[in-house]
């Protein structure tokens, strides 16, 4: 357990900063979950919910930014406190981008016809579920300050990329074959898949921030050989 601060006001603000990040993470995880379900359900009210949640995400991101600015100005944080503020600013930005991708992909998913290929829909949904799990584990590693978990989460991105590329080549192949149900949707399924893949990338960025927050170093994870 972390030692208590002598400056209670400062400590309260640091706790508030963490609380805001937890709040933002919960909203973004919910957004992703709903957006991934919309791929199959095509429920337009759920898609609207992701839009509404996005406004909440933006609001919390502003709170994180303002509070970080206040902490830096008034309390001049150093060491672990400085790293927390620095990480909060960067993680909140990544979360906000994840929220944007969720909103966009849900909006596109409801515009795809119900006659769209079932297998491709399943592939998109599975990709979404994989991304959802990765995001959940990455954020858990942040709040639990678990470096090992952050590295495992980071490593999951390779599998997400593999699934994304496989889905993409299937989509392109079906388009080549002029399968009407696929061709009619144009780039929409590709953009949905891309949004999911991008959410995975933002999760890896968060995993790198988690490792920085714990160790004080940015590790070139691409060169590391952990499994």
């Amino acid at each position: 357990m972390e030692t208590a601060h002598t400056d209670k006001n400062f400590e309260q603000k640091l706790n508030h900063l963490t609380d805001n990040l937890i709040k933002m993470s919960n909203i973004v995880e919910k957004q992703i979950e709903i957006a991934v379900n919309v791929i199959k359900s095509k429920d337009s009210s759920d898609a609207q919910t992701t839009q509404n949640l996005d406004e909440q995400v933006d609001e919390v991101e502003r709170d994180v930014r303002d509070l970080s600015f206040e902490i830096m100005t008034l309390h001049r944080p150093v060491a672990s406190d400085l790293r927390l503020v620095f990480t909060a600013l960067k993680v909140s930005k990544e979360l906000e981008r994840m929220g944007d991708h969720s909103r966009n992909l849900a909006k596109r998913a409801i515009s795809i016809s119900s006659s769209f290929d079932v297998d491709l829909t399943d592939q998109m949904h599975n990709l979404g579920k994989g991304v959802q799990k990765m995001v959940n584990q990455t954020l858990e590693s942040f709040f639990k300050k678990d470096e090992v978990q952050a590295r495992i989460s980071w490593n999951q991105d390779a599998e997400i990329d593999r699934q994304y590329k496989s889905l993409l080549s299937d989509l392109i192949e079906r388009m080549h074959n002029k399968e009407t149900s696929v061709v009619d949707e144009g780039t929409k399924p590709i953009l949905i898949a891309k949004s999911l893949e991008r959410i995975g990338d933002h999760a890896t960025n968060i995993a790198e921030e988690v490792i920085f927050n714990i160790t004080g170093h940015y590790i070139d994870l691409k060169k590391s050989d952990f499994e």
Binding site: T3, H5, T6, A79
Partner: protein, 258 residues
Amino acid sequence: MVDQNSNYALQTSEVYVHYGKKMAINNVALNFPKNEVTSLIGPSGCGKSTFLRCLNRMNDVIDICNVKGKFLLNGNVDIYSPDIQVETLREKVGMVFQKPNPFPKTIYDNVAYGPKIHGIASSQNELDEIVKDSLHRAGLYEEVKDRMDDIATGLSGGQQQRLCIARAIAIRPEIILMDEPCSALDPIATAKIEDLINELKENYTIIIVTHSMSQASRVSSKTAFFHLGNLVEYGETGKIFTKPDKEQTNDYITGRFG
């Protein structure tokens, strides 16, 4: 074991200090790189000032203070050797105190006093030059050049502290020890002293005890954290204030209970 590396202005090892039976410094080893500023930080009573005062034998005058250890100046001069005269040592290792302490003499005499008693100047002209040069280096000359015969105690606190720095420089030391030199000064005077420290390091090695974490991070390239007489951590200031190795250091510099 003190190595002979002359990149260090001062090397210390196996330092123990006792006040009577009470241990104040417990087996500290710390080396000070030449032309760098090293900050000594830690809570009150941690031993940082005691350690600083060992470096020019200020503790010699305290009867119950017992200092043991190796202290090497420039890699080969044992400053506690019986052959070393304390006055000669203090020519090499000057000191600036927490509270400015000018002599109740003129501004000129305050700076000229050291060179006179140490026989540094061979003529009045040379003495004048030393006084002028020292005041210049301390960033005070322009402010006092027209009132060199005024009594120094009439200067502001910040000016008095810069005068004390000029006085320390006048005897041409290699190392300047500073014991909380800005604690009695306002932020502007503090900024001037910090600027000065930054300039002085080109010619001197500076060791500063400070309670201000932000001052340590601003002025020094190396930081040593003391706690209960132990040297807990020493390293690059940038690292100490971003990712210290020891949790105790992190707790202290972030303002948590140690």
